[in-house]
Amino acid sequence: MSVDKQHLLQFLLRQGDNTLVLGHRVSEWCGHSPILEEDIALANTALDLIGQTQMWLGYAAEVQGEGKSADDLAFLRDAWDFRNVLLTELPNGDFGRTLLRQFLFDAFQSVLMGRLMQSSDETVAAIAAKASKEVAYHVERSADTVVGLGDGTEESHRRMQEALEYLWPYVGEMFASDETDAAMAAAGIAPDPASLREEYDALISKVLTDATLDIPAATYAHKGGRTGYMHTEHLGHLLTSMQWLQRAYPGCEW
């Protein structure tokens, strides 16, 4: 199998940066969740995402071939080098928005991991196989909470509908395609994201309908995260907090 190394690297960075940035965002709830049980559950989710990041960025570093580690990629790149979709870097907002963002991402991952398990690249297939079990639990849990809050009290419903209006313009970017995606599809490594939209829409429509939430009609999609062209202003702030230790104490180990 011959595939352009740069395209494979881009693909792996996109996977690893999605889970890294969202994992960090979710970890921000640690100690602040509205109830103890949710605090532990969110911390578990964040740890799962960081664990997946180690696999994706570890493989990315190997493909890059510059002797770097997953940690180097996570903690020593600047905002413009990140390839996560904008959805994952958005601020948490309230608990409902955090869980809705989680659901919109989990649903995408659950569709994608199913395909990546069939990847022609054995390492990609192995990472997807391990991640898919975690993702299956994440999407079940976040979907339940979205339904519980959407179809809950008047206030929780209003907050969830507002969260959906806020997050919806960031959903489309997950299905954008470029030459990297074309190269991955041609090599049988990963599906064209655009081809996942139908299955995704069916999944989220069912849950959002159960949650009595209205999917916005607008189709405008913010983009620039997965290409690195332009992140939101939120990513830099996230990185200053996430990368602080390695920046202040370079090479620090414990």
């Binding site: 109830i35 103890l36 049980e37 532990i40 559950a41 578990n44 639990y137 079940e140 339940d144 519980g148």
Partner: protein, 94 residues
């Protein structure tokens, strides 16, 4: 106004063939979420292969004040322990 979710008692089976054991309690809005919360709170270090949840209000319990009439009468009835039989050696450890 009551904002607290109901309390659930959690039982985990550590491995196949063993019985479920009470491990603690937690709050959850319904049984399904109680199972999920139990998974996240009590099995994150690979402790279990099965989870039972029971809403605490459905458990009937003995009253601590009744322990005299309930439990003390059996204290003096050592003949109820099967310690007066000679076990043949061939049986091995029981």
């Amino acid at each position: 106004m009551k904002n607290e979710w109901p309390l659930w008692e959690i039982f985990i089976r550590g491995q196949h063939g063993m019985s479920h054991r009470h491990v603690g309690s937690l709050h959850a809005p319904d049984a399904e979420m109680a199972v999920k919360n139990a998974r996240d709170v009590y099995t994150r270090r690979n402790e279990g292969v099965s989870i039972w949840v029971v809403e605490a209000k459905h458990i009937s319990a003995t009253a601590p004040g009744d322990k005299g009439p309930l439990f003390e009468p059996s204290e003096s009835k050592i003949y109820r322990h099967p310690t007066f039989f000679d076990i043949p050696e061939e049986v091995g450890s029981m």
